[in-house]
Assembly symmetry: C2
Homo-oligomer: 360 residues x 2
Amino acid sequence: MSRAYNFCAGPATLPEAVLNQAREEMLDWRGTGMSVMEMSHRSDEFVQIAETAERDFRELAGVSDDYAVLFMQGGASSQFATIPLNLLPEGGSADYVNTGIWSKKAIAEAKRYGDVNVAASAETSGFSEIPDQASWQTRADAAYLHYTPNETIGGLEYDFIPDSGSVPLVADMSSTILSRPMDFSKFGLVYAGAQKNIGPSGLVVVAIRKDLLGKARSNTPTMMNYQVIADNGSMYNTPATYSWYLAGLVFQWLKAQGGVTAMAAVNERKAKKLYGFIDGNDFYANPIKPRFRSWMNVPFTLADESLNGEFLKGADARGLLNLKGHRSVGGMRASIYNAMPEAGVDALIDYMTEFAKERG
Amino acid sequence: MSRAYNFCAGPATLPEAVLNQAREEMLDWRGTGMSVMEMSHRSDEFVQIAETAERDFRELAGVSDDYAVLFMQGGASSQFATIPLNLLPEGGSADYVNTGIWSKKAIAEAKRYGDVNVAASAETSGFSEIPDQASWQTRADAAYLHYTPNETIGGLEYDFIPDSGSVPLVADMSSTILSRPMDFSKFGLVYAGAQKNIGPSGLVVVAIRKDLLGKARSNTPTMMNYQVIADNGSMYNTPATYSWYLAGLVFQWLKAQGGVTAMAAVNERKAKKLYGFIDGNDFYANPIKPRFRSWMNVPFTLADESLNGEFLKGADARGLLNLKGHRSVGGMRASIYNAMPEAGVDALIDYMTEFAKERG
């Protein structure tokens, strides 16, 4: 088939222009006679690729020199341990907000390293809204406040950045990074698995305020020590060079699209269009309070769940792929990250319209 | 330029056929309309890719069902901590053999987690030979015996598998895996960063005997717990899918070459040819005792070190790349892994002959 519209939550669709460039450069990067994946990570060529990617990321996300930007491995799930190992002192306590499956995972792992205070939970609303910050039971002496700006599985997204006062704010931005402008100076640490808005899996980008470096516990694995990774420019050992290169291509593509401000306009339009359609059609439903609906991950259900299989089969036949919701929540989910073109959302709505007409 | 001969120690050259296939499949893997890097790791397509890669690896390396094969992230350097966290009980002791820079790194990290006994060291010979096993001061109650079959930087390689009795034998095979047949049943755990003989960086393949699973310390990060990774088929979180796919292509290529027996014949021929030339030419030298010379990494020096720059420049001009030795030892190093064709070694010898004639 030709290129499909792939609504997978991650690994997710990538810009076709990026894949085309990667294909062109596969056997010979700019006359070097080598693929990027064959280059020494310490070569002038790769260092240039790596530094350009970091510079472009900083520019896109608005990350100042007060932060170190790290290109690490192991995904966000490794960060769930890396963060307390680096930022939660023995005997200390950290605040977490529970808004769904990914924050729960972060909480469970952090609890293995110290006292975790769940300052607020969306559980009471069935994970349909973000608890009002006025109700959060945060602690002034917390080592940090961790939250998940966008829950990839539940499709629940903050429409505000929490005010953590002098407590460092830590955010798992895996599924929302670079989808819109934001004030980076409000964060102590941001991390994002690459496989949604950045590039292929196997890479996690971390931006940490430099004053938070150097606090790792003595038993922290060296490869999880932010200070060590920062001191070595993310090359303490061989990094995931090809993923780093592809992330760099995505950053260049984002810049060519007009950066995160332009992306935000497209992303908002895509999301509003899809939620608007769902709300206006009795056959489909989304359970999230409108204010907190994710721009990136749009879960929806069919009025008749017994038609789920047929819906997915028809979608597949049209090249609308990976619409099945996460096994923990069922239903459908359309992930519409930066790289999903607006035409993909239009095609999905066309199909949903037709399916509801014929089968609803 | 056309494809160069890339002698980099890692990330290293890959088979041109593998890169060609990756290029062909970049935008559309077998009619799915997706790149492999855009596929859900839980999709039928990717699970098939992943399982085929594991099966081929087992077949090539001779790994029985007594072992779990894990596709992890973080490189061999992460394993330096992962191994003691999983295999060295609090208060226990482990034996290590020091044969160069990589074993030293493994030792330094292990010391952070418990008592490490350096059972033998090649330091007394200036790292020019492997100490006779009869002289090793191993302990019968060691949790494991760790060694480095091939030292990538020093070019020092074991020509035997140590006999560890009932103590599990642990090997960092990053730079020698799949280069020849070996009796896998002698090992408790084998690990290998992919970026030499397996594929791109960002992947580390671990084979662990199943009776060694389930012993991780309570504070082990979940992502470093072998039992968790094994129980989840290396998909506890999103794995490095594209690297895994490329590793699979390399395994298929290896099988098409005739497997590790055929590779061993080529590798031995390449190494003998290059060492034979070095030994027969007064202008070049290799310091390693012949028995212990690496088939994979061939360090050599020029009689006149002031000509190093000129040698490298001339090599670059001919498309013979990355011959500079590691900064810690100087001189030159030609890494001639599985993917380096014999013609690359011939081209190197031709150049070395000419350079010695003109400038020696």
